[in-house]
Each structure stands twice: as structure tokens, then as C-alpha cells.
Symmetry: C2
């Protein structure tokens, strides 16, 4: 197996130049965190570590909870602590908000944030359905604020390297089939009490929490070309309240590309992309959260073949290792803050790429859900 180290600290080097620009030209973007979800701990740490962002405030329905959260998550001494989400949005010093609230609350709070001229970093799934997301997009567009979803792996330098491989007509050729999965095993308490099994909170369940990543990876590999037809797999697991605990689907494109995915709360932690092209193959087994924080790898194969007696491979896949000093969630916050600063201080327009790919992901996710609801009938997009 050939091992290729793709330059040391790619992110570090790349960021160094953008930091110096951001740091030299613009003040740091001031974040407000709307809600104290568990994932907000990771995001708050990322804001602390981002060179062009700072934690400015946090709001919870309970002032006590907000205080405890700020104290535990490295908020600076002057950070504002609020006993409501509204108070965060009303703080004129806050530039941008991070919204980790349950999916059912996204449309309300993201639209309100946009209307209060706050830029919005929104947890995934972005909404309960694409119609709700379109309300959020419309509010952000009419208020000129940046919208980005919290799909962190998009910002890992490994992803750029993998994109490069998938785009290489000589090494990968054309994508023809792809399989992705994301599963993790939850405990009895989760199955009883987590917001992700509650129809009125994260009502999309495993499809929203895990399938989102699988579908994003498929769209990413397909250069964001939407499939024409989506057919959900039979036998999804659904709890008594009607929330999906495991499911999957097949996706079909006009040109014959085929994708499948599987997601589940009921099996061991697994996250794979297997993308097969006319000339090459991509394998990655930790695409959402890399095994290690500062180093990640993928496997690329090109024009693989057997020896004469078909007893071994002639060209084996090579392992590509990408090092990064800066974790992917910090790169996400940095990129979001860079766009916000560019709007705030440089009169730039919001970057449409991010809401566009969020919308496509939600659109396909909606189709999977519709196919399940219609008894696994094909749903055309």
C-alpha cells in the first residue's frame, strides 16, 4: 500500500494566509449561541479557536442554564448571558448566531434571526422540510445575511483533496455508483428521551440526524447534481411515535448513476463513503468525524487490475493522509466568519453556495421521507 502524505498541516498553511487577512483587516465576528444543546459545546469551542470569531453571548430559556453553559464553555469574561433566545437576537453587538435548537424550531428562530440582521450558522437538518427551509433562505436573502449549515466535514481539508480526486477524469473518471452510511448505537435512555426520537422536536429522527450526512456525501460526490428518482428501502425502523430510527434509500440519476445509503440509531458507529467511478475508487471510513482530530486519510485507487493469474492486485489503492492543525469545525466557523466579515466590512453579497447545497440535501431528504410514507414508491425530484 502506497501511503501519500498530502503536505503537512494543509489547513494550518491555508488558514494562516486567510487569518492574517481577516485579522489584519477586520474585527472578529461576534457570535451568539441560541440554545445550550450538547453540540453547542463543540461549536463554542470552535468559535473560541477560530482566529476571526469570538463568543459574545449565549441564550437559553433558563438563565441559570445559560450561565452554566457560558462558564463551562470558555466564554470570555464580558460575554452576555441571556434567559431567552430573543435577547440574543436583540443584542446589537452580536453579528452572527449559531442555532443548535431542535429541528422543529429552526424555521421560527432562523427567520427571526435573519430579520434581526443576524448571520445564521444553522445546525442540520436545516428544517423539517424544504418549504420551511425556503422560508429561512428567503429571510436571509431579503436581509442580506449569510446562511450556512453545520455540516463540518465539508470544511476538512481532506474533503477538498477527495473532491480533487473525484473531479479527476484521469484518476477517477465518471462517478457511476456510490454507497454511504452513517450509523451509531444509542442507549435505552436515548430511545426514550432524546430529542431525536421525539416527533415534535427532531422529528426526522435518524434520517435527519444521520441520513443528512449520507445524502450530503452522495450529492457532494455527484457534484451536487440532483437525482431524478428516490426510492426508500423497505423495513425502516420506526418508533411508536412515528420517528425513524433506521432507514435507507436508492437514488437514481438520468445518466445511470446509482447511489444507496443506510442510516441507523441501532447499530455500531460506522460512517463510510464508497464511490466508484469508471477509472477509480474512493474509500473513506470516518468522513463525518475523522478518527483523529488533526490527521485524516482516505483511500484512492486508479485503474486497478489483477496480475496475470488473477491471484493478486496489480495496483493497490493508495492511502492519502492529510494533516491539519485546525479541526474541521474551527475551519467551518472560520469560513463562515470570513464570509460574514466580507459582507459586514466589505459590502459583499452572501455566498449562495452554502444555502444551495443545504437546500439540495433537504430536498432529497424530503424525497426519502415521502417514499417511506408512500409505501416505498418512487419519488421523482
Amino acid at each position: 500500500m502506497t501511503v501519500i502524505e498530502c503536505g503537512e498541516n494543509i489547513a494550518s498553511a491555508a488558514q494562516a494566509s486567510s487569518h492574517s487577512m481577516a485579522e489584519a483587516e477586520y474585527p472578529k465576528i461576534r457570535f451568539g449561541v441560541v440554545g445550550c444543546a450538547d453540540i453547542a459545546r463543540k461549536l463554542s469551542r470552535a468559535v473560541s479557536l477560530a482566529p476571526n470569531a469570538t463568543l459574545h453571548g449565549v441564550g437559553s430559556r433558563s438563565l441559570e442554564k445559560a450561565r452554566a453553559f457560558a462558564a463551562a464553555n470558555g466564554f470570555p469574561a464580558g460575554a452576555k448571558v441571556h434567559g431567552s433566545y430573543e435577547a440574543v437576537l436583540d443584542d446589537p453587538e452580536i453579528d452572527a448566531v449559531y442555532v443548535p435548537l431542535p429541528t422543529s424550531l429552526h424555521v421560527r428562530w432562523a427567520v427571526l434571526a435573519a430579520n434581526k440582521k443576524k448571520h445564521v450558522l444553522l445546525e442540520k437538518p436545516v428544517a423539517l422540510n424544504v418549504a420551511q427551509f425556503d422560508e429561512i433562505v428567503a429571510a436571509c436573502e431579503s436581509n442580506g445575511v449569510q446562511l450556512m449549515d453545520g455540516t463540518m466535514w465539508m470544511h476538512h481539508p481532506r474533503t477538498a483533496k477527495m473532491t480533487h480526486f473525484l473531479s479527476d477524469a484521469n484518476r477517477f473518471g465518471q462517478l457511476r455508483s456510490i454507497h454511504t452510511n452513517f450509523t451509531f448505537a444509542v442507549d435505552a435512555d436515548f430511545l426514550e428521551n432524546d430529542i431525536r426520537v421525539k416527533p415534535d422536536l427532531d422529528g426526522l429522527g435518524s434520517l435527519g440526524d444521520e441520513g443528512w450526512y449520507c445524502l450530503r456525501a452522495i450529492l457532494w460526490a455527484a457534484n451536487y447534481e440532483l437525482p431524478k428518482t428516490v426510492i426508500a428501502s423497505r423495513k425502516p425502523e420506526i418508533n411508536k411515535a412515528g420517528v425513524i430510527l433506521s432507514c435507507g434509500a436508492s437514488l437514481y440519476w438520468e445518466d445511470g448513476k446509482v447511489a444507496t445509503f443506510h442510516c441507523s440509531f441501532m447499530t455500531n458507529l460506522t460512517m463510510d463513503i464508497t464511490a466508484v467511478g469508471t477509472k477509480g475508487t474512493l474509500h473513506v471510513h470516518d468522513f463525518i468525524i475523522p478518527y483523529e482530530e488533526k490527521e485524516a486519510s482516505f483511500y484512492a485507487a486508479t485503474e486497478s487490475s489483477f496480475d496475470d493469474f488473477v491471484t493478486k492486485w496489480r495496483a493497490q489503492p493508495s492511502k492519502h493522509i492529510i494533516k491539519t492543525d485546525i479541526p474541521q469545525e474551527v475551519l467551518m466557523v472560520t469560513e463562515f466568519s470570513r464570509l460574514v466579515a466580507d459582507i459586514k466590512f466589505n459590502n459583499s453579497k452572501p455566498e449562495k453556495k452554502w444555502p444551495t447545497i443545504s437546500r439540495k440535501t433537504q430536498l432529497v431528504l424530503d424525497a426519502v421521507k415521502a417514499s417511506i410514507e408512500r409505501g416505498f414508491e418512487p419519488v421523482h425530484i
Copy 2:
């Protein structure tokens, strides 16, 4: 990543004991090769290398071709060379035949071989459909001869190690989802002239040649429990003569297990098993032909989880390396010959395990084909 070397030369050690028994007690099993297909070169080499088997004869429709094949493939000086398949079957000194003929000819020649009291090592797919295979099984049973298909990876010591992992309730738990694929990119000449694109020869195309392995792997992982329902993927590629060039399917079990597979003549060489259980995950990327002839590996993960901030994995998959002095196809020939010797010299009954799993594989393969033919309708098994 933890790397675990599973004992040096497992196969070598295991075989050493069975050889000494076979060699001490019984003469070598004498093989006749029926047809000079390309794959017969590999199998002839395997017979030469097997301690309990010997190349005794080869037959082709052309005597010249048979002569050239014997000369090029290490047949001993006294080996018989025949200008017909019948002559091989009529040679009273031949114990067993290897049948690498096109699938459409299997039923005729395997049945005839069995009726001539020859044990049958039969290439895959074993027949054009399960009804044909049942004729072969009936002929072998009534003549008391061993039947085994040529699925070599079943005999690699890695497979036994992986079976052990999948059967481990503590490390793997219960299988819930599995994806397999087998693809390779053929050239223009293959698409025009190879027997695998000809409806009257290997009429099952990619499904028979590649899908066979995907389905076998799925059944193997499911402990050979048959799925209840099979639904072919849409958009299979089919040539003008009606032969499948790429296809896939979803398989469903009563207990909620789900499997998907994809096979294709049109994309890069790729062969994966991704099996996800309630407690563990198995990954292998070269399950049919290992990257190396004498060393193979797989990845096993158990109770994987994240660190507190969900920025990296707590327990990463471990890589298990299995060394073998004896290639898998030689182990296959050795096991087949051991069974034949036990019948011939020890009055044993044929081992039913092998035709049983061949039949199950063919049964599911037939269901995939039927689903394609019925416009991707569910087919119940």
C-alpha cells in the same frame, strides 16, 4: 490503528496436518479439466500446488488447444490430452473434473460428469437458474459424488477469521445491514466478444460473474439465512443482446436486516464488504481476490464511540492481518480433494454444505434477475 497479526501462516499450519493425513492415507485425487477457459489456468496451477490432487487430463473441442493448454499449465508428462469433453469424462482414471465452461453448458456437462461418477468442481455461477442447478445436484446425489462451486474466497483463512468476528455476539452483535460490491472495468473487446456478454453463453452477464460474489458475501454474513424479499435497483445497464452489464438490488429479511449490492463491468475494480452489526463493523476491500497472494487483512470495529467533544473516535477499528503460505484457490482444491478422497477411500457421504450454499446463492441471484425482468417489482423467496 491497532494492527493484529493473526498468527503466521495459519493456512500453512492447518494444511500441514490435513496434508499429512491425506498424503499418508490416500493417493492423490486425479483431476480432469473440461475446457480451456482462461480461469482454468489458475485452477490448474492450484491443482498442481495442492498436496492431495494431481492434474491428470484436459479436454477441449480442439485437440490442439488441449495440447497447448497442458503444455503451458504444468500438466505432468503422462497427463492425457483429449479433443473432446466426453473423453475426459470417459477416462476411468479421472476422479474429479473441474468445469469452467460457459454457464449455459453447466447443466449438460456437470450432469454428465456426475453420471460418469466424476466428482464436480463447478465454476460460478453454477447454472443459468436454480432449476438447472437442481438437476446438477440431483445427478451428483444419485451418483454419490461431491459437488462444490469455485468460489475461492470461501476457502481463504481470512474468511474463517471474519466469520468468527461476525459470529461473536460480544464484538459484532447481530448483523443489521450489509453492503457489498464487485465491479471491474472491461475493454471494448470484452463488451463485443467476451462470453460474459453473450446471451447463449454466460447469459447472466455481470450479475452471474460479479453479482454472484456479492450475493454469496451477503448470505455468508447472514449465516446463510435467505432474505424474504429482493428488489432490483433501477437503471441496470443491459447490452443490445439483453445481457446485464451492471445491476444491483436490495434484500430484506423478516427480522429487519437489510442488504444492498452493486456489480458492474463498467467501473474500476472494486470489491467490498461493509457489514454493520449492533455492536461492531466489518470492512474488507479485497474479499474476492486479496491484494496480495499470501497476506490478507480486514478491519474490525467494536463498540466504536466518540470522545467527549465529538472531535475524534474513542476506539478505532483494528486491522487484522492473516498470512497464508497457500493461496485460497489451492486451499479450495485441497478441501474439495479431501472430501473426494474421503468418499472414494473411506466410504464417506458427500458434504452437502457446499451445494447447499451454491443453491442459495443461485436462488437469490434468480430473484434479482426476476425483479429486473418484472420492472423492479419485489420478488419473494
